[in-house]
């Protein structure tokens, strides 16, 4: 660093000092706690080394919640990405009236997630929810959207998609607008079909934005909480209990904070591994299209 700018290091002090206190220290503390059998109710704390990890990894409930998380994560991200990309392309194509649509379509994302979850609950609630009420009008017997183990998962995926599809749409739409339109025109003049233009011109140019959205969404989905908490509370039974939900139950319901911390650490490791492999895979497909 050039000497006249040496004072700039001081600019980091407030922020990084704060982060050390409110982020790194708690994080270290959580890792520390994960080696203890620690029930917050009585305050008894015994060091058990990797005991929590061993116990957790041999538990059926953990693996079930892991599967639930994976199904919900990939299901919702896939749905969000497909719909979001289609919407972005439609907006890009419309041009003039796109502005109104983009505002209206973006609304669900801006709503407080808890509130959005309530909105969806009122849609899907048995009998009196809008969906059931409508279907019953036509004498169709609806499934139990939130009470059936399978449908509850579907409902959670749909709900997540309702909230986050707009985000993906918006990011991809912005990326599309940043595209060099002459590329597409040149391809049109060359007589390329719409599908080929999409496949060979648009998608490669959007790779950085696509990697970004998918990565960010995947890490969000691994920690989303509000939605399931409000919509199903993890139920019925543990049908929609994700890792996050399970951690919450352990830590804040059963007050087993040591075990909950261990589960948090496990989640962190999974998310990190997942992100790394996604980035690597996508990057290798498009040979570092991300720059």
């Amino acid at each position: 660093m050039v000497s006249w700018q040496r004072g700039l290091w001081l600019f980091f002090v407030p922020s990084f000092g704060l982060l050390a206190v409110v982020l790194l220290w708690p994080l270290g503390y959580a890792i520390y706690l994960s080696f203890f059998d620690y029930f917050l109710g009585t305050g008894t704390r015994t060091f058990i080394g990797l005991g929590n990890y061993i116990e957790l990894l041999s538990e059926a409930r953990l693996w079930r919640s892991m599967w639930t998380t994976i199904i919900i994560a990939f299901g919702s991200v896939a749905l969000e990405f497909a719909v979001g990309f289609a919407l972005a392309l439609a907006l890009y194509r419309l041009n003039s009236s796109a502005k109104v649509f983009s505002v209206l379509l973006f609304l669900p994302h801006i709503v407080t997630p808890v509130v959005a979850a309530l909105f969806l609950k009122w849609m899907l609630a048995a009998n009196w929810g809008l969906v059931d009420a409508t279907l019953l009008t036509f004498d169709i017997t609806p499934p139990d959207w939130l009470g059936d183990p399978l449908w509850a998962k579907v409902s959670v995926i749909l709900a997540d998609a309702w909230i986050f599809t707009p985000l993906i749409m918006m990011v991809l739409y912005a990326a599309l607008q940043g595209l060099d339109a002459s590329l597409i025109e040149a391809a049109q003049i060359d007589g390329a079909s719409n599908w080929r233009i999409l496949r060979h011109v648009i998608i490669p140019a959007l790779i950085p934005a696509i990697i970004f959205t998918i990565s960010v969404r995947l890490m969000d989905v691994f920690r989303f909480f509000d939605l399931i908490y409000v919509l199903t509370g993890g139920g019925p039974g543990t049908a929609t209990e994700t890792i996050t939900m399970y951690t919450y139950q352990l830590g804040f319901r059963m007050l087993e904070v040591g075990k909950a911390s261990a589960l948090g650490v496990i989640t962190l490791v999974i998310v990190a591994a997942l992100l790394l492999s996604i980035n690597r895979a996508l990057n290798s497909i498009y040979r570092g299209g991300d720059r």
Binding site: L87, V115, T213, D226, T247, A260
Partner: protein, 280 residues
């Protein structure tokens, strides 16, 4: 396809897209519309098959939720927490982001990656130690603990976002300021900061949204006296169908300020969402 057909076909396609998009938008907004209608309905209109579209609207439940159910207190709590988060996160984040944009790339790169990595920490992993420490320090149900937790999850993003804005401000200006007699601090305060105002607006907007909407930390770190709006509405009779109208009114009330802010600041919002995605 002859040459003359092409524009016609294109116009027809555009219309099809327009119609499809309109239908999708209406369906997509249904939960929201339904909630608004529910909040204006008397229970006798709310529970009918088929669902009623035409009914006599009433603002009674909006009145009740605010004036008989402490929502003003929760709103006050939400505003205090949000303001506290913004006032800590944005200035601190701006300082770091500015320095980050001015140090050599090879030093800035690892810091940026580290910040990006921190963003992916599961919040639950942070909530546990905050809860345990808060219990020991007797800080549960205090504003400061929640504010600090929100700053912790918000700060990396704020730095990341502001970094992009500072990069757009030419370094020549820093150099001109240095030659004109400014220390680093003076150059930042007098020359750079006024130019970074749009960026700070975006960062503040996002911090505000995050802290206003945040649920997990608010749920585990607040109590009766600091409960924020999302925690309040989540515990507010969502189960009991007889109170649907009332909780719908509350939910709409929570949503409205955000919608207004969003409509006013829409262009900033897009800029913030796409920061990091479209470039760098």
């Amino acid at each position: 396809m002859s040459a003359a057909d092409a524009p016609n076909r294109r116009r027809r396609d555009t219309w099809l897209i327009f119609i499809a998009l309109s239908v999708f938008t209406v369906i997509n907004l249904m939960p929201l519309i339904w909630a608004v209608l529910t909040s204006l309905k008397d229970p006798r209109d709310a529970f009918t098959i088929p669902p009623t579209i035409i009914f006599e609207p009433t603002l009674e439940y909006h009145r009740q939720v605010w004036f008989e159910n402490d929502f003003f207190v929760y709103l006050k709590n939400s505003l205090i927490v949000s303001a506290g988060t913004v006032l800590i996160s944005v200035p601190f984040g701006s300082l770091a982001a500015y320095a980050l944009s001015r140090i050599p790339r090879r030093s800035a790169g690892p810091i940026l990656s580290a910040l990006f990595t921190i963003r992916m920490f599961p919040h639950m992993l942070l909530a546990i130690p905050f809860f345990v420490m808060g219990t020991f320090l007797n800080l549960i149900d205090s504003y400061i603990l929640l504010i600090l937790a929100l700053v912790a999850i918000n700060q990396p993003f704020t730095i990341w976002l502001m970094h992009g804005f500072f990069l757009d401000i030419p370094r020549d200006l820093d150099e001109a300021a240095a030659i004109d007699g400014c220390t680093s601090w003076q150059a930042f305060r007098i020359v750079i900061l006024p130019l970074a105002r749009p960026g700070m607006t975006v960062a503040a907007l996002f911090s505000l949204l995050l802290s206003y909407n945040e649920f997990l930390f608010a749920l585990v770190l607040t109590g009766t006296s600091t409960k924020t709006l999302p925690v309040a509405i989540a515990s507010f009779g969502g189960e009991d169908i007889s109170s649907w109208s009332l909780s719908a009114a509350g939910a709409i009330g929570i949503m409205l300020p955000i919608v207004v802010v969003m409509l006013l600041l829409q262009r900033y919002l897009v800029r913030g969402l796409t920061a990091g995605a479209v470039k760098g």
